[in-house]
Symmetry: C2
Subunit: 344 residues, 2 copies
């Protein structure tokens, strides 16, 4: 099993290297450097798994398309993703991203927001340069996909930010899934697969047929990510355990906890969440974490992630089943299990 994950990681890494080369061409080598263009590569250069461009490229190739035809679109998705992370980190008041200080912690909120804005417009340029490789019709359809992707993401982001700001403590699992459909799934899995299929099939694929598969996959991914924020960080960074708890982020675990706790515990958690972030103490965070253990919230979230991954595997055969066997097709299927078994 480990070998299969090594293969997944290596292949994603190979695709990511190609994407990085494209990105390098789009990172301007000009002024203003210090306050802008020196900072644009910072997040993309921090190690990521390359899930989004990997799904996009592999889906295109599974349809018989070339890497070259899809590379700029995959690079644009990766750029949007990183721009989104910079803004997300400011919005959530996060302190660390991929093991290093967040952009705004290092360079200030103003410059960080502006770097994110610059990356968004660099993505537009990347997509405009699709014209030569895939022609006007596909270029235009990719634009429409990206426009929808960004719109869904800001809508999901608005839900999550609003819940935290207004200290909403009455959420259900269904609310959570609706939020991550918008905030995570569209841009992490759904549109990468759709765009890969669009380009790989030369426009003939039924893009909606990838929605269920990639929705289940994206939801499993996000829940696993949130579980790792609690468990992974705990093991590896010690002090930085539970950044999400510090931020009051409405994860599936927190929602589960709020729905399981006794009225007294519920009151205690709500009072903790009412405080501004800087007044939340490490011992309070630990006690929320302990309650999550008491009510098996992390275990239960992992079970949900596994069920979603199972649903994704079933849908995989409906979405990709008719395509001839290929390494890329196998890669996409393997990513599903890799995602819920990874530990970073």
């Amino acid at each position: 099993m480990q070998n299969s994950y090594t293969w997944v990681e290596n292949t994603l890494n190979d695709y990511m290297l190609m994407v990085r080369q494209v990105l390098d061409d789009y990172f301007p080598d000009k002024e203003p450097r210090r306050y802008l263009y020196d900072l644009v590569p910072a997040y993309p250069n921090r190690a990521g798994k390359g899930l989004r461009p990997g799904l996009c490229i592999a889906t295109c190739r599974a349809f018989g398309g070339s890497v070259r035809s899809v590379l700029r679109s995959a690079a644009a998705i990766e750029l949007y993703h990183n721009a989104f992370l910079i803004h997300d980190d400011v919005e959530d008041g996060s302190e660390f991203r991929r093991g290093l200080p967040t952009m705004h912690k290092e360079h200030g909120v103003g410059i960080a927001i502006n770097v994110g804005d610059a990356m968004n417009v660099l993505s537009v340029r990347t997509l405009m340069d699709n014209l030569d490789a895939i022609g006007p019709t596909l270029t235009w359809l990719v634009f429409a996909e990206i426009e929808h992707m960004v719109r869904e993401s800001v809508e999901g982001q608005a839900m999550e930010l609003g819940w935290v700001r207004d200290n909403v403590c009455t959420l259900s699992e269904a609310d959570y899934l609706r939020m991550i459909l918008k905030k995570t799934c569209w841009y992490t899995c759904m549109h990468p697969c759709r765009i890969g299929a669009l380009i790989g099939s030369g426009g003939s694929a039924d893009l909606d047929s990838f929605n269920r598969f990639s929705y289940y996959m994206g939801a499993a991914f996000q829940i696993q990510d949130d579980a790792l924020n609690l468990e992974g960080e705990h093991a590896r960074y010690g002090k930085e355990i539970g950044g999400d708890i510090f931020e009051g982020k409405r994860t599936l675990m927190l929602i589960h906890l709020l729905n399981s706790a006794t009225p007294r515990e519920h009151g205690r958690i709500r009072r903790f969440l009412t405080k501004p972030r800087e007044r939340r103490s490490m011992s309070e965070v630990s006690s929320v974490y302990d309650l999550m253990l008491k009510y098996d919230c992390i275990k239960s979230a992992r079970t949900t992630a596994r069920h979603l991954a199972g649903a994704a595997l079933r849908e995989f055969h409906l979405a990709y089943g008719k395509l001839p066997d290929s390494d890329d097709k196998r890669l996409i299927e393997s990513i599903v299990l890799y995602m819920i078994n990874r530990d970073i």
Copy 2:
């Protein structure tokens, strides 16, 4: 003279009303409302002069184009402008915008950044819908104009933010003009005129021929705007005098002051600027303001604005001179003087 400005204001207002109708169609009437779509119209609905869409529509009509053909592009420019203002207000830590609290003061930094991001993607949709009205070639060329516009704006913004963050006190008038070329002129005047000419001429106009005129006009506008922040606010809002001084914004007046002050005064101003914004006192702001009066900084900035407006009027004849006379052509010329004589 007053009558002529009334005519300018009324005409800009008429064009702005048409733009607002288009924008209304693009403001989504759906969830998430409270944390997103209810907030998107907030800045566009606050009274603005409508300079950018006005220049765009008038230039298109001066070329014989229809309002209908240019309206979506003008609306997209106005949306980008307002998205830019929301992020700019967060980045500068501004408290008021058009007489009301800024978006982040009212709704928090996270939600404000995300609303700005949503408005950017709504502008993309507006531009995509150009297709029916002006066809694929012009739609594409407008995209390229907007891509350049946004890129220049983030570059200018990076310069200004960096100067404030690193407390740069050795700037020249040339540095300032380079910064506002990028930050203000491209998106306030240059691209609105270029896009108007592009659509109005059906793609035949030499767009670069509008650059000098609209650069001079944009620079005059920005300097006048900064002067009004000191004088206008002083008269009308009392307490909020000199928001720009509070923010340490590198205006032409501050740069002039830093280059005119005695070493002792220079040290005092620098120490004031070194403090974080929340530790700057009203009396310190007043004393910087008094030094600006002592060295005629505001008067001198207004003189520079008038010289730039004079240069714009000369360039107007080179850029628009060959077009037949029309109300729209007259409007554009009148806007130049209106801008440096307005008091709001």
